[in-house]
């Protein structure tokens, strides 16, 4: 039991690491990773929705009729997304302004609906929470990593909290602005995927 629980949790961190191994939910990955702070904020919001919706879907999996299950999942997910949206507005307003419409768009993030459909609707609540947490943390780390690469190359800084850089290359650094623009997001993610593919899979 404990072993399989650990397995469900850790698979999200490597073998099924989104968005690299599971190429899903790319929109927020590309759009919000202009800084580490934005990336991690988005990741945490998505993790919250993922864990809560996985838990509820798995608790209700025997009540929900098969034919309308997708509609039910969507209602559950949309509810949690709205809760996150309201909480962020109340307690992390600057981040809410930066992430903009990508917060409500968590509702159409394929990862969230995908986990409900593929995992939570077939497994018990504890397993589903472990799965959601693992995938969510993996997603957060990926967003943070891409954010770090883009922010470092594009601006010469690394920002974790409240817009204050914890690390800065100083004024002599010539930033590679391309990385902060739209094309830089695509190329950055493509090259990171390439690096991950270099490491052989078991």
């Amino acid at each position: 039991m404990a072993q399989s629980l650990a397995k469900e949790f850790t698979k999200g961190l490597w073998t099924e690491l989104p968005p690299f191994r599971l190429v899903l939910g790319l929109c927020p990955v590309l759009a919000v990773t202009k800084s580490v702070e934005n990336g991690i904020g988005m990741g945490v919001a998505t993790t919250f929705v993922l864990v809560c919706s996985n838990l509820l879907v798995s608790l209700l999996r025997n009540i929900i009729p098969a034919k309308v299950r997708i509609a039910c999942f969507i209602v559950i997910i949309a509810t949690f997304v709205t809760i996150v949206e309201l909480l962020m507005q109340a307690y992390a307003y600057p981040l809410f302004l930066k992430l903009g419409i990508f917060i409500p768009l968590i509702v159409v993030n394929c990862i969230v609906l995908g986990r409900s459909e593929a995992f939570a609707s077939k497994n018990g609540p504890i397993m589903s929470v472990a799965d959601g947490l693992g995938i969510g943390i993996g997603f957060t780390l990926s967003l943070g990593a891409l954010g770090a690469v883009r922010e470092f190359l594009g601006n010469g800084t690394l920002t974790i909290w409240e817009g204050l850089p914890v690390f800065s290359m100083g004024p002599d650094f010539l930033p590679f602005r391309f990385m902060l623009e739209a094309p830089g997001a695509f190329v950055g993610l493509g090259l990171m995927l390439f690096l991950m593919n270099l490491i052989p899979q078991k």
Binding site: K67, C72, I76, L86, G100
Partner: protein, 194 residues
């Protein structure tokens, strides 16, 4: 048939629970959200317009409700003893709505200063033009009663920021709206400021 009923029942119950839950969260966070909006969107503009006033215009704010609109008004007293208010109006550019905080001296009906206010941005979309101090300084000292705040190209008195014509136009629209609002609500504002 039974299957059909259970489908409808489950979906309805789920939607009702979701609606109720959200209404509860909404009413729980409403006050906090209003504070945050004031703090991050309006406070910076108000502070930069009224750098050294004795009161806190945000704490002293009041709301005027008419049939068509709700207006938040931030009152203060200037150094020379005359009363002043700030309020926000919106204009629409292609990049979405742009907010303009307008401060007016009530005794002389002259514009003290204007500032752009922050708005949610869509990551990825080109960043909105930064505030141009020359542009906003054009408004200072104009009478809010009889100035045409449109761009010079449309018969007004304001010069557009080059490269940001659309935003300039949106800000001018907001200023024209501010003029209408002020003229209409001035008696009400004076009444509430006592």
């Amino acid at each position: 048939m039974r299957e059909m009923i259970s489908m409808i029942v489950v979906l309805t119950v789920l939607t009702v629970i979701s609606g109720g839950l959200l209404a509860a969260v909404k009413s729980g966070t409403e006050e906090q959200i209003e504070i945050q909006v004031l703090k991050f969107q309006k406070a910076p503009a108000i502070e930069s317009i009224f750098p050294d006033v004795t009161n806190d215009p945000i704490a002293d704010r009041f709301t005027i409700k008419t049939e068509e609109m709700k207006l938040q008004v931030f009152p203060t007293k200037l150094a020379d003893g005359s009363k002043a208010v700030a309020f926000e109006t919106k204009g629409t550019g292609f990049g979405g709505p742009v907010g303009l905080m307008v401060a007016v001296n009530i005794n002389s009906d002259k514009v003290i200063d204007v500032r752009m206010t922050a708005h949610a941005e869509t990551p990825g979309i080109g960043t909105k033009p930064k505030e141009d101090l020359f542009f906003v300084s054009q408004f200072t000292g104009l009478s809010i009663m009889d100035t045409d705040f449109n761009l010079k190209g449309s018969g007004g008195v304001i010069d557009a920021v080059s490269g940001a014509t659309v935003t300039s136009n949106a800000l001018c629209t907001a200023a024209v709206k501010a003029k209408e609002v002020y003229q209409k609500l001035k008696p009400e504002i004076i009444k509430q400021m006592k």
